[in-house]
């Protein structure tokens, strides 16, 4: 989870493939210190970040595109712990902010009828979807394993709309490379277009045959089955398609010390 907040710093720039390659190889060759110009994340130097980038690039070069994560049968479904923010309206939770918390409480009070998902950024047709709008898209149901970075895992059934369908409906521009997610618990994080267009990357509104529970991200969360659980963000508010990498400031993973890529 990205919960542990650390002090923020500025800086982190566009990670281009070439630059990532150079810094990644440099880190292996022991030439790391000269290879990376961005300011360090707050808790340690940037050598760790270069290792993350090397892993990311190795996955993108070596692994086949869009392999499906294993899907299970209903009898494999396990109990599942709810962690991180389990209620954005609860002031005792570490990532609570009054404005988002109150907005969330209002939306939940109305059964999420007034909730909207904005899809903006590098798209031809920015959209704002209600839950009913999203449920009109063809749905996908998948029983998959949620692998938490803490070490535990759980198998659950998720129902939602493929992110690909939502992006196609908005007409993503050819220059777009990342999809950023902004959430009601102020977490923000992104994935690259490869994972965004993965057939199992869905915007889930159902879990184990019911509406998504608040503790698991109601009304809508993303499922990124090829990465660790912290990339499957809950309580979605806004999707922003971007051309350039953005660390999303103090609410993104990098400045709190977490690897942006969690395919590990």
């Amino acid at each position: 989870m990205t919960g542990a907040e650390k002090k923020k710093t500025s800086g982190e720039t566009l990670i281009t493939r070439r630059r990532a390659l150079i810094t990644g190889v440099a880190s292996l060759g022991g030439l790391a210190l000269g290879g990376c110009s961005e300011e360090s994340p707050p808790t340690y130097g940037n050598i760790l970040r270069m290792g993350d980038v090397l892993t990311y690039q190795a996955h993108r070069w070596l692994l086949p595109k869009h392999s499906l994560a294993k899907e299970y049968s209903r009898s494999d479904i396990t109990s599942i712990a709810a962690i991180g923010t389990t209620d954005p309206a609860d002031p005792r939770q570490p990532l609570f902010t009054p404005d988002r918390g109150e907005a969330y409480a209002r939306l939940r009070g109305g059964g999420f009828a007034d909730w909207r998902l904005e899809v903006v950024g590098s798209v031809a047709r920015p959209q704002s979807y209600s839950l009913a709008d999203l449920k009109r898209f063809p749905s996908r149901t998948q029983i998959t394993r949620h692998a938490c970075e803490e070490g535990w895992s759980a198998i659950a059934e998720w129902t939602g709309v493929p992110l690909r369908a939502v992006l196609e409906a908005s007409g993503v521009t050819p220059s777009a490379r990342f999809v950023q997610f902004y959430c009601y618990d102020v977490v923000a994080d992104g994935i690259d277009m490869l994972d965004a267009l993965h057939p199992q990357t869905i915007l889930a509104y159902g879990m184990n045959g019911r509406d998504l529970l608040v503790a698991h991200g109601a009304p809508l969360r993303v499922r990124v089955e090829t990465q660790l659980g912290y990339k499957s963000m809950k309580f979605l508010k806004r999707l922003v398609v971007t051309d350039e990498f953005d660390d999303l400031g103090p609410y993104g993973p990098l400045q709190t010390g977490w690897s942006w890529y969690a395919g590990i």
Partner: protein, 255 residues
């Protein structure tokens, strides 16, 4: 007494120390393994429970619980919500307790060190094959694996504080230990580690299924960690018993 002398004469005269590339690989791998062990332990502290099978979490039974952090059997859970009627139905519970979790930097350090381990290991295997070091010095011969030979070696090593010159040829137990670490334990750690990767197991599901699931692989990964810690302790102890300074110098600068 005569038996011991014979043994020493057998191995003493031909030692030429460690080749330069062996010394470089040794310390790179040692540093990687140290970083991996440390960061891996910190990662484990976030969830000190081990399971068998595909999936496991605080709401499912553990195979083994380790009392290594404040997360051990913490009780910070709200009441369960069941997803279905009836006994045995999957439940959800919300955590109300701020756990110890330093997995951000620890996991990144773990993978950085793993890259160094894999790269250095590849160089070692390549150079070791080309120079004949692996075949000549590390692969135990059939007669060296005979229980009698291993027993004799063990008894000698326990009894004697022999100051032996560094480098190959190695004794029976040394060969078994080095071969086991280089060609069994470390590769096992790499593949059970990869079995925990969502991206890699999506592409190659057998990487996890061969162990019976990602949680089984995680448990085996922990057993491998324990075995490597034991090896390292024994390795350092044996170096200490055969002239620590001389062994370290020979492994660092040669001679």
């Amino acid at each position: 007494m005569p038996a011991v002398d014979t043994h020493l004469e057998r191995v003493e005269p031909r030692r030429a120390g460690h080749a330069r590339w062996v010394r470089a690989c040794h310390w790179l791998i040692a540093a990687s393994v140290l970083a991996l062990a440390f960061s891996g332990f910190v990662v484990l502290m976030a969830h000190p429970r081990l399971y068998w099978g595909e999936a496991g979490n605080d709401l499912t039974p553990a195979l083994l619980e380790l009392s290594i952090s404040r997360n051990y059997r913490h009780g910070g859970w709200q009441q369960n919500v069941a997803f279905a009627e009836g006994p045995g139905a999957a439940v959800s519970a919300s955590r109300t307790y701020e756990i110890f979790n330093e997995n951000g930097w620890a996991r990144s350090l773990h993978f950085l060190a793993a890259w160094f381990l894999v790269a250095t290991g590849a160089v070692f295997c390549l150079a070791g094959s080309l120079t004949g070091h692996v075949g000549r010095d590390l692969v135990p011969r059939a007669r060296e694996l005979a229980p009698r030979a291993l027993w004799r070696d063990l008894v000698e090593r326990v009894r004697k504080r022999a100051v032996v010159a560094p480098g190959p040829p190695y004794g029976e137990l040394q060969k078994c230990a080095y071969f086991g670490v280089v060609f069994l334990a470390l590769p096992l750690m790499v593949v059970t580690g990869l079995a925990m990767s969502p991206a890699i197991t999506a592409a190659y599901p057998f990487v996890a299924s061969v162990w019976g699931g990602a949680q089984s692989a995680r448990t085996i990964h922990f057993v491998g960690f324990a075995a490597l810690v034991l090896f390292t302790a024994g390795h350092v102890l044996m170096a200490a018993r055969s002239g620590f300074g001389r062994q370290i110098r020979a492994l660092t600068w040669g001679g």
